[in-house]
């Protein structure tokens, strides 16, 4: 992920508007680039898409993918939905939270890791499932996930 930069962000916003995307398309590009949408982007987004700042804020707050704070260098998303619950997702989540000292939605102080909840990755026959930096993981157990976390924490 790249550190937030207003000039770059404005360029992405204008390009998205020129490409005929709706505002969520621009937000997607910002999140893909910076990992989140900074408050600084609200005014230029409102201008580029002819919407009020309040409307832009509403869109950002509505969608889970549009983080409003920078995530850690690594993002671990743990599935919390029923199929994974049926095979121990609750216990797995608890183990990860204990191991990392983080709750879901929190980022470590050293900005290395963010934990997030996700509701279904479509890997439901092989839970518990998770995703680390876009890489899908399945059939997890506590020992395995702690081992995987060690590789990103070192």
């Amino acid at each position: 992920m790249v550190q937030w930069n207003d000039t770059q962000a404005n360029r992405l916003i204008d390009q998205a508007a020129r490409d005929g995307l709706v505002v969520t398309g621009a937000l997607r590009r910002l999140v893909d680039h910076f990992g989140y949408v900074d408050d600084e982007a609200i005014a230029p987004l409102a201008k580029a898409f002819s919407r009020s700042k309040a409307e832009i804020y509403g869109v950002i707050q509505y969608y889970t993918d549009f983080r409003d704070k920078p995530p850690g260098q690594h993002v671990l998303r743990l599935c919390q939905a029923e199929s994974c619950q049926a095979v121990g997702a609750r216990e797995l989540t608890k183990a990860v939270c204990e191991h990392t000292g983080l709750g879901l939605g929190e980022t470590s102080k050293d900005k290395n890791l963010t934990l997030e909840a996700v509701y279904c990755l479509g890997l439901c026959a092989n839970g518990p499932a998770a995703e680390l930096d876009g890489q899908p993981l399945a059939e997890l157990d506590s020992a395995q996930i702690t081992e995987i976390l060690r590789t990103v924490q070192s």
Partner: protein, 507 residues
């Protein structure tokens, strides 16, 4: 000639190490100087055997289940390239009972072909329906869909032909075909499998829908949790345009259809069709009031067909073989086949396509093989987070829309989540409210506040049944959409069929 080896490029297979497996097979083959060609196919839906390695032999494709990188040298030693014996060998793929006992119509190509090869798609019957449809009048196409009895596979079971007819009759120069690929229900992955394994099938179905209704623009609304499907669809769209199966003057017919992909941003409610339309317009996914129906005033206020992925994927075969053919499969008013998905605490999970009418017992026990942890199946939840929890006593129920209605349940998108002896049904009921609170769009009070009150009521040491029933009634009758109106289904079914979990103190 080099030997063809199939290793799925499907998201699940990759989660279980398919990429590393493919690399290991490639380098081992190179070291042994054996020419192999690795095809990254879709998944056969045998999730319990992923990564499923297959090789083409003179007798047909031979499968090796749960093939891992560390098995590769031994597989070569065993002569797997000619179907050699190995403890992971499952025999000829087509003869594996779990697959052979299914009726693969919609999923006939999934896992068989290279998903991004138009040539292979056509060799296996692809674009036959569309080619036929290009020479039919719109009314003739709709006639076949009506005759087929095809009902929406997204959950509501609404007759697809009637929806199409409404859009065809609507006035307006611009109409749209929207594919709802926001498959958010836990326990469902049929849309993901077909989009990753046979994307041209969806494209074919959407173009036919366009021809039938006069729409020349289509969009696939895909959830962002499916990045692999997004990548495959993007490529498939470009290939289909290049081969003139999309775009202007399709195959010289004078008919046009442009199709684009739109990726969502993490919102369960966007699977609700009006919230989905709002989302496509760049707004928060807040449900619209109905009427007006999206068929008349949908995307940008213009007539719009919104169908689920599987509904659209069922279309090409109906045009190829005729509506009558389809209407004879299944039972009563639930015609055709349904791709069921077995998930959760299941021994043999995956995709099971069968004609409607198969009992839950057949799905849960014969295909699913019971639980993964070996405990007796205590409950199944059918149709996602808004679906009913059912006990084994009801497993004799046939999968038929009407039969399910009579037991207070729905088939939904066909997801069946198994739970073993360890499940706490009170926790599951509380989760139903929690999920509703998390995902509610906030427009209507019964859903927005009811979900939170429900969570609180289930956290209390003693359960106030009357008050919970009262709350459920308000949510059912007063919510603007299915999110609030159906959340009581898992709650009340859990309380009805598993009362013992609601009488004791909270653990």
């Amino acid at each position: 000639m080099s030997q063809r080896v199939f290793i799925p490029g499907d998201m699940l297979a990759i989660a279980l190490g398919a990429n590393q497996l493919a690399e290991a097979v490639q380098s081992e083959a190179e070291a042994r100087k054996i020419p192999v060609q690795i095809v990254r196919n879709g998944s056969r839906g045998m999730c319990w055997a992923e990564p499923l390695l297959e090789v083409e032999t003179s007798k047909g494709r031979v499968a090796y289940g749960k093939a891992l990188t560390r098995d590769v040298p031994a597989l070569f030693d065993a002569g797997f390239l000619t179907g050699g014996a190995h403890k992971k060998c499952l025999g000829l793929t087509e003869d594996i009972p779990w697959l052979a006992n299914q009726t693969r119509v919609i999923f006939n190509r999934c896992g068989v072909i290279d998903p991004l090869s138009i040539a292979e798609f056509e060799t296996h019957g692809g674009f036959v329906g569309l080619t036929k449809a290009l020479h039919l009048a719109p009314a003739q196409i709709i006639e076949q869909i009506l005759a087929s009895g095809l009902r929406g596979r997204g959950g509501a079971g609404f007759p697809a032909g009637i929806k199409w007819q409404t859009v065809a009759a609507a006035t307006g120069p611009t109409k749209h075909i929207v594919c709802n690929a926001d498959e958010g229900d836990s326990g469902t992955f049929a849309d993901r499998l077909i989009m990753e394994g046979d994307p041209f099938r969806l494209i074919e179905g959407m173009v036919i829908a366009g021809l039938a209704t006069g729409a020349e623009h289509g969009v696939i609304y895909l959830r962002s949790e499916y990045p692999f499907a997004a990548k495959i669809l993007e490529t498939a769209l470009r290939l289909a345009e290049k081969a003139n199966w999309l775009g202007e003057d399709i195959q010289g017919s004078g008919k046009h259809f442009a199709l684009e992909l739109f990726v969502g941003a993490g919102s369960y409610v966007c699977g609700e069709e009006t919230a989905l339309l709002e989302s496509l317009e760049g707004k928060p996914g807040i449900v619209r009031s109905k009427p007006p129906l999206p068929a008349l005033e949908g995307l940008h206020g213009e007539p719009t067909v919104i169908n689920n992925v599987i509904t659209l994927c069922a279309v090409p075969d109906i045009i190829t073989h005729g509506g009558k053919w389809h209407s004879t499969i299944g039972m009563e008013r639930s015609t055709g086949t349904m791709p069921f998905q077995l998930a959760g605490n299941v021994a043999k999970g995956g995709l099971v396509e069968l004609p409607f009418g198969a009992t839950l017992d057949v799905l849960v026990n014969e295909f699913g093989g019971g639980t993964r942890d070996g405990t007796p199946v205590r409950a199944v939840q059918i149709g996602g987070p808004l679906g009913a929890y059912l006990p084994p006593e009801l497993f004799g129920t046939q999968t038929d829309y009407e039969a399910f209605t009579t037991i207070g349940a729905g088939i939904g998108h066909g997801g069946i989540v198994l739970y073993g002896a360890g499940v706490n049904m009170r926790e599951q009921a509380a989760y139903a409210f929690e999920f509703c609170a998390e995902e509610s769009c906030g427009k209507c009070t019964p859903c927005r506040i009811g979900a939170v009150r429900g969570m609180e009521l289930l956290e209390k040491p003693t359960i106030d049944h009357a008050l919970i029933d009262d709350l459920c009634e308000v949510m059912i009758k007063g919510s603007a959409c299915a999110m609030g109106a159906m959340t009581p289904i898992p709650v009340q079914s859990a309380m009805k069929y598993f009362p013992e979990d609601f009488s004791k103190e909270t653990g």
